[in-house]
């Protein structure tokens, strides 16, 4: 460094140098903070000492963002390269009109196509790309919420060298100063590589440094699927399912509606066989064998709850019964024989129109068995397809990662470049990655946020968000897309993995040129420019989807299977890990939308919890929110206990991703880090767990206070048989129609209405985030959720109910504003702040609202949301994500779902310009757009051709509470129709108590 003093006049030499390995105790961390506080600017988030970091995140901070913006200048700018908007090339940007850009986001190596909505250059929203097979216009919650990370004031903004602010140039110099030779001491540790361009860069790197090694590490990746394919076929292949053709689906602990790379598409396909309409007589049937309750289990027609370790024996038995040579006497076989024989019979009879799918949390052997079972059932080629691997480097990551740690311990690693992730935090605890890191002289880490690994590294490089950098990737079926940034980097300090690898290979081209050059190399036709423009315009590289390849089990399958070490059957409780439904492996822990997104089943927000069944909790003397200590292999962690109905007995489930030392929940006082119990040989479940009650308690914030079995169930249910026998079965309970003295209002123009198909709703929460993004909905923090002040305009109610046979069922009901014809809220507002309009919308006039909250008291649906505090005070950078077409609401004002009135008006203006009326499909509210299963339909109920009219004409259409209260809601529901196997009703999925 040339200057002798830093900005605060402290001599550089007086700043103690530190390496991460000293940061073991809280005092060390405090010292580290103090050090950071001496380095100006970048440490301001940490300096906010008056406020806990959690609070800081909840209010979405201010100071860091301000300083960050001064770095880059306040106005977002487009990237220097030519970018192509999705719909049309504008002659100029029209203020008030959004532009969409096709792009893609990768998670654990697999990409999903997106459209990024921008307003005056600011990305405000992520929607699905209808042309991309992994999205088809819809998205899951995580992918949508990822846009918030772009603006997050907690983002790391400066290069750090041993904790002290540095520059990219200094880092470059340091890297150039390394003597890498042939790369024997060089290791690259990355997330799962999904980008073909990055893969080709890495191949170049390996040519330059032939002895270097690239190791992938994704703590919640798809290792077992890769391992299963290697075991079954002796080569890596990608398994792609076509649920649209399957009549029977058996899930072996697979939450395929949410957790697989193709889940958004799978959910759509699966539900296409469950769209019950008036003349329907059949639907598909879903059997789920699962450990931790998931939304797939809730959707199941028949569900069997088992411990995760029991799934393998089930798969072995199934394979054995189907004639596959396999040792059936392995593991715990204490599952229901009746269930087994019924499922087996039904699979046999499906005639190749069934799917057996194994979950990513099940070991490779289960995946291999499932490949054999699907082949035996004749599913391959009709419902199950194999393609070339989507991932450029499909390897079992855990093995390579363990090898890396060994190399590090042996002192064979001189320079370690960690691209993304937080391996110090996410590495299996038995490997001792943190300690091994001490043996590496040069450690560089690229990440979006400052995390545990950053502070243990010599160099920390702030990473670019995917919305601000070029890249590419492939979807679950191989469909390639270019990640096109609609905006230049917000901060000029950030770098992408492409640039780090480029630095090592001496590559001087820009990332854009690299990506373009890669695809130019792949392209064999003429006119590459047109091809390229098409690819980035559509967000899909033309004809890039992989074709199915012929594939058959290896000849020595039985022998290979026999070589698999049988699972230990250990006593005690079983600990099941899972990727968190919201914050995934922890990488989204700074994302307040996802933190506040209720868990689909437990409805817990902002924390993880140790989930136990009621019987196990009673046996162990544990009650809700007790802090329990989990002990496994001599390692311990704490967790707040949560009694979860439907959870298998003698097992505890814990979500990964919480308890980060630099995460928002670091100040809990407990170690909530599930990685601290994870070992490399049992990544997803392990027996021998010991649980003790610490006597402390830790409050969890849930979006549902009443967690018992529900006494009432507003969701109308029926089986397909009942529906066929009596299509209007939902109306049987109806009382006589209420007669009014007054004539009903005639809606002559448009009359907006919504239909929600409860059969299709899988409770995935995608609509909640879609709405949050569209309508500028603030977060209220853990305290706010505890106080029941969530602001989301659409919520998903979860009911635990008993069906007629006494089995427990988990059911979902999305509830947004019903826009009642006889709106109880309108009657009681003393100032006419909530009024009906001529199209039947129940409007909220924010400016007129004085906050009596009477409307909310009188709303039987509880959909009105009140600004108890000024929730929208945010850092200036956080304002950038807001939709300029939706008012931001101040404190003291009521708000609620508007049916996305801004979208209705945009369509109205567009139609007016073209001198036509609004057509069906012109207006799609944000929730409906996000819904993977198209459960939500919206349109003009005066338009006889509209899809929503067809849905509302169904015999099983009903209004929530309408028969009790005569509110005449405009949002109506289609009853939840299931297709359970009568032979299994009342056996197995019920509560054991």
């Amino acid at each position: 460094m040339s200057n002798e003093h830093n900005d605060q006049g402290i001599p550089i030499s007086a700043i103690p140098t530190t390496t991460g390995d000293e940061l073991e105790t809280p005092e060390d961390i405090a010292r580290f903070r103090e050090l950071l506080s001496k380095a100006p600017r970048q440490a301001m988030a940490f300096q906010n000492s008056g406020m806990s970091r959690r609070r800081f995140l909840q209010l979405a901070g201010a100071s860091l963002a301000l300083s960050g913006f001064t770095l880059a200048g306040c106005s977002p700018s487009p990237p220097p390269e030519q970018i192509i908007p999705y719909a049309r090339v504008p002659e100029e940007i029209i203020p008030g009109r959004p532009l969409f850009f096709a792009s893609a986001m990768a998670l654990a190596g697999y990409s999903t196509g997106l459209l990024i909505e921008t307003h005056q250059g600011r990305p405000t929203r992520i929607e699905g790309n209808p042309l991309h097979t992994a999205s088809r216009g819809a998205l899951n919650a995580i992918t949508q919420a990822a846009i918030l990370d772009l603006y997050n004031p907690e983002r790391s903004l400066v290069v750090r060298n041993d904790g002290v602010e540095s520059t990219w140039d200094e880092f470059t110099a340091a890297v150039e100063g390394l003597n890498l030779g042939s790369g024997a001491g060089l290791r690259i540790l990355t997330d799962t590589i999904g980008s073909p361009t990055l893969a080709s860069q890495i191949e170049t790197l390996l040519e330059t440094y032939p002895e270097a090694q690239v190791v992938q590490h994704d703590p919640a990746g798809y290792d077992s699927a890769v391992g299963g394919a290697l075991l079954a076929f002796d080569k890596a292949v990608e398994t792609v399912y076509n649920f649209a053709e399957a009549d029977v689906v058996l899930s072996l602990d697979a939450n395929f509606l949410a957790d697989l790379p193709g889940s958004v598409a799978y959910a759509r396909d699966f539900m296409s066989k469950r769209k019950v309409r008036g003349d329907a007589t059949t639907m598909n049937r879903l059997y789920v064998l699962e450990s931790t309750p998931t939304i797939t289990g809730a959707t199941a027609d028949n569900k069997l709850s088992v411990r995760a370790s029991q799934v393998e024996s089930f798969a072995r038995a199934l394979a054995g019964e189907l004639g596959i040579e396999v040792d059936q006497n392995v593991g715990n076989t204490a599952w229901s024989d009746m269930w087994f024989s019924v499922v087996l019979e039904e699979l046999r009879q499906s005639g190749g129109r069934s799917i057996v799918v194994a979950g990513p949390n099940q070991p490779a052997v289960v995946h291999a068995l499932v490949h054999a079972i699907n082949a035996e059932l004749g599913n391959v080629g009709t419902t199950v397809f194999y393609t070339d691997p989507v991932l450029p480097f499909p390897v079992v990551q855990a093995e390579a990662f363990s090898q890396l740690v060994e190399d590090m311990n042996a002192g064979n690693v001189d320079a370690l470049f960690m691209l993304g992730g937080d391996p110090v935090y996410t590495a299996p605890a038995d490997l001792g990655f943190r300690e091994a890191l001490e043996n590496v002289a040069f450690k560089a880490h690229l990440s979006l946020y400052l995390n545990d690994t950053s502070v243990q590294s010599n160099w920390h490089i702030p990473a670019a968000h995917f919305v601000e950098t070029w890249s590419d990737g492939r979807g679950y079926d191989g469909t390639a897309s270019i990640t096109q940034p609609p905006i230049g980097p917000l901060y000029d300090t950030v770098r992408s993995a492409h640039q780090i690898i480029g630095l090592l290979t001496g590559e001087t081209a820009s990332t854009y040129d690299l990506v373009r050059a890669y695809w130019e190399g792949e392209y064999s036709g003429g006119d590459f420019e047109a091809y390229w423009r098409r690819a980035i315009h559509d967000g899909v590289v033309p004809e890039s989807t992989f074709e199915p390849i012929p594939n058959s089990l290896r000849a020595d399958f039985a022998a290979a299977l026999a070589e698999v070490e049988p699972q230990e059957v250990s006593g005690g409780l079983e600990l099941i890990f899972r990727a968190d439904p919201a914050i995934f492996d922890g990488r989204f822990s700074y994302n307040s939308w996802l933190q506040e997104l209720p868990d689909p089943i437990t409805k817990i927000t902002w924390d993880n919890a140790a989930l136990l069944s009621p019987a196990t909790a009673e046996e162990l003397g544990i009650s809700r929110e007790d802090v329990i200590e989990l002990q496994l292999d001599g390692r311990t962690m704490q967790a707040s206990a949560w009694i979860m109905r439907g959870h298998p007995d003698d097992a505890v489930t814990i979500s990964l991703g919480y308890g980060q030392r630099f995460g928002p929940d670091e100040d809990s006082g407990f170690n909530f880090n599930a990685y601290s119990l994870r070992s490399s040989d049992a990544l997803w479940f392990r027996g021998g767990l010991q649980v003790s009650n610490t006597g402390n308690s830790y409050d969890l914030a849930t979006a549902r206070w009443h967690d018992e079995m529900d006494d009432t169930n507003p969701i109308r249910n029926g089986t397909i048989e009942e529906f066929v026998a009596n299509p209007t079965f939902v109306l049987d309970e109806e009382t006589d129609p209420v007669v009014s003295l007054l004539p009903e209002w005639e809606y002559e123009g448009y009359a907006w209405g919504m239909s929600i198909d409860l059969t299709s709703c899988i409770g995935c929460n995608a609509c909640i985030i879609g709405c949050q993004m569209e309508n500028n909905i603030p977060v209220v923090g853990k305290e706010g959720v505890s106080a029941a002040r969530e602001m989301s305009w659409i919520r998903i109610d979860r009911y635990y109910v008993e069906d007629e046979a006494g089995d427990m069922q988990t059911q979902f009901q999305p509830v947004n504003c019903m826009h009642c014809e006889n709106a109880p809220c309108e009657l009681v507002c003393p100032v006419e702040a909530t009024i009906h309009d001529s199209e039947g919308l129940n409007n909220m006039v924010y400016n007129r609202c004085i906050g009596t909250r009477y409307c909310s008291a009188n709303c039987p649906y509880g959909v009105r949301r009140f600004n108890f505090f000024q929730y929208t005070d945010e850092a200036p950078v956080m304002r950038e994500w807001r939709n300029p077409n939706v008012s931001v609401r101040p404190e003291g004002v009521m708000e609620k779902c508007t049916y996305c009135i801004q979208r209705i008006n945009a369509a109205r203006i567009e139609a007016g310009r073209e001198n036509r009326t609004i057509q069906d499909g012109d207006v799609v509210p944000a929730c409906a757009a996000a819904c993977p299963t198209q459960a939500i339909l919206f349109g003009d109920i005066n338009d006889s051709g509209a899809a929503v009219v067809a849905a509302k004409a169904q015999p099983h259409n009903y209004g929530l509470l309408d028969s009790e209260l005569n509110t005449k809601p405009r949002t109506t529901y289609l009853a939840r129709i299931t297709n359970p196997n009568a032979a299994l009703v009342g056996s197995g999925s019920g509560e054991e108590e």
């Binding site: 549902r704 206070w705 009443h706 529900d710 006494d711 009432t712 507003p714 505890s786 106080a787 029941a788 002040r789 969530e790 109610d797 979860r798 009911y799 009901q813 509830v815 109880p824 009657l827 009681v828 507002c829 003393p830 100032v831 006419e832 007129r848 609202c849 004085i850 906050g851 009596t852 909250r853 009477y854 909310s856 008291a857 009188n858 709303c859 039987p860 649906y861 509880g862 009105r864 949301r865 009140f866 600004n867 108890f868 505090f869 000024q870 101040p890 404190e891 003291g892 004002v893 009521m894 509470l961 009790e964 209260l965």
Partner: protein, 459 residues
């Protein structure tokens, strides 16, 4: 002496052993003037200083609470969605109820020719005023945007926005302001002759001026008396229906809504009875304490307290009947949500509040059947305190508890009672008691002229 000619003169039973005459122990005309003048111009009693200091501190706390909630937001309270109404609304109903006894005693009993009311009427009316002041602040403080409260008024504006008259809150606005104005007039007009008496008794010039200005030149002229009585009776005739209407309308806030636990037709009369019930409890406590404080047992006698206690028993029994009807209606309507609410009230997380309410309002008052209890001042004060707590709890049971258990079970939510709610309950007593203490000290607390007039008639 001017007796109201057009009215039947009060029929005084000749038999002095008749217990109904027992209240009139004070027979010498003129001594009331000296007594009351002594209270005002004499020294300040120690109990008054202590009481005033405490209530002033509470008033400061109230100012702090009010400003905090107004500035920082209603989120300070434990309210949520769906429990959007909490302590502020509970307090509103409670304090309006307290006020009701005053009007009931002064206006209703005046029209009924119950002359014994005289001893209570002045301070009961003052209680009405101050309780209404407290009550009137809570609908404001309850608002999310207090600065825009005037939107509810039907004032002309260029945007042609108007009050939404179908809302019971708009009716509340009219009912409460009318009630407040009539109560103020009624209290003040009745006070004029006594202010004149004090003006005449005062020695210092500025004191004379202080009493003389509001006395508005009252000279005791018979025309003055005739006008006064006419006005009093007209105002009483206006105020009496207001006693019924105000709390009926507050009851309609709930009855009109379709919330389980609110949607009951019995609410208007049930609320009125409850209001008078709690108001009488407050009157009894004040009367008993004040008369020993100032030594005016001969102005407010045991007989008076006994009469008030009987009234309290009657209204209390109506309230208990209301509890029964509520529960019966929930069962009879066979609405699942209503019945679940009944179960949650009795067995749910707030069950202690519910059962305390039943005990305080339903069981404790049964003691009032016994004359010995009614004549025991300590017992009366304790019972009245129970009633006050019980009636506050009743409003708590009705407002946040009903909201906690709405139709959709997924929305069920416990009311998160906290620090700010507690001080919101406690601190308004400062706003109520501070002017009460000032009133007791500086304004004639018993209507001298009325007492004297009755005494003259009797002797």
């Amino acid at each position: 002496m001017a007796v109201i000619n057009q009215d039947q003169p009060f029929e005084a039973p000749s038999d002095s052993s008749n217990p109904a005459r027992e209240w009139r122990t004070w027979k010498e005309p003129g001594s009331a003037v000296d007594k009351v003048a002594g209270m005002i111009f004499g020294g300040t009693p120690l109990w008054w200083l202590i009481g005033f200091s405490i209530s002033s501190l509470l008033l400061l706390l109230f100012v702090f609470t009010f400003l905090s909630v107004a500035i920082r937001g209603t989120g300070l309270w434990g309210i949520s969605v769906p429990v959007v109404w909490g302590t502020a609304i509970v307090n509103l109903i409670f304090w309006i109820g307290i006020g009701h006894a005053g009007t009931f005693i002064s206006a209703f009993l005046l029209l009924m020719r119950q002359t014994w009311r005289g001893a209570f009427s002045r301070f009961a009316e003052a209680m009405t005023l101050f309780a209404l002041t407290v009550a009137g602040l809570f609908p404001l403080l309850h608002l999310g945007r207090i600065e825009l409260a005037y939107y509810i008024l039907p004032y002309p504006n260029t945007m042609i926005l108007h009050t939404q008259w179908r809302s019971p809150l708009a009716w509340d606005m009219v009912a409460i302001t009318t009630y407040g104005l009539v109560s103020l007039l009624f209290w003040y007009i009745d006070l004029v002759p006594d202010l004149a008496t004090m003006r005449d008794k005062a020695e210092k010039r500025w004191v004379k001026l202080a009493f003389g200005l509001p006395a508005m030149g009252w000279r005791g002229d018979s025309r003055h008396w005739a006008a006064l009585h006419k006005t009093t009776y007209i105002l009483a005739a206006i105020a009496t229906p207001l006693v019924i209407s105000v709390h009926s309308i507050v009851g309609l806030d709930f009855a009109v809504a379709l919330v389980p636990g609110w949607h009951h037709t019995i609410f208007p009369p049930f609320f009125v009875a409850g209001a008078i019930f709690s108001g009488l409890a407050m009157v009894i406590i004040f009367a008993a304490l004040m008369r020993s404080g100032f030594g005016i047992q001969d102005l407010i006698t045991d007989w008076h307290l006994d009469a008030a206690a009987k009234l309290m028993l009657v209204t209390g029994l109506i309230v208990v009947y209301g509890y029964f009807v509520e529960t019966f209606a929930a069962w009879y309507a066979s609405k699942e949500a209503e019945w679940l609410l009944v179960a949650e009230r009795a067995l749910g997380p707030y069950a202690p509040a519910y059962w305390a309410m039943i005990i305080f309002n339903g069981l404790v008052i049964q003691l009032l059947w016994f004359k010995r209890i009614r004549r025991n001042v300590t017992a009366l004060i304790l019972i009245s305190l129970c009633v006050l707590i019980g009636m506050w709890l009743e409003r708590f049971v009705i407002v946040p508890m009903s909201l906690s258990f709405p139709y959709l079970q997924s929305m069920w939510q416990q009311f998160n009672w906290g620090f700010w709610d507690i001080i919101t309950v406690i601190s308004p007593f400062g706003l109520f008691l501070t002017p009460m203490f000032l009133f007791m000290r500086f304004v004639p607390v018993v209507p001298i002229s009325e007492m004297q007039q009755v005494a003259v008639e009797e002797s």
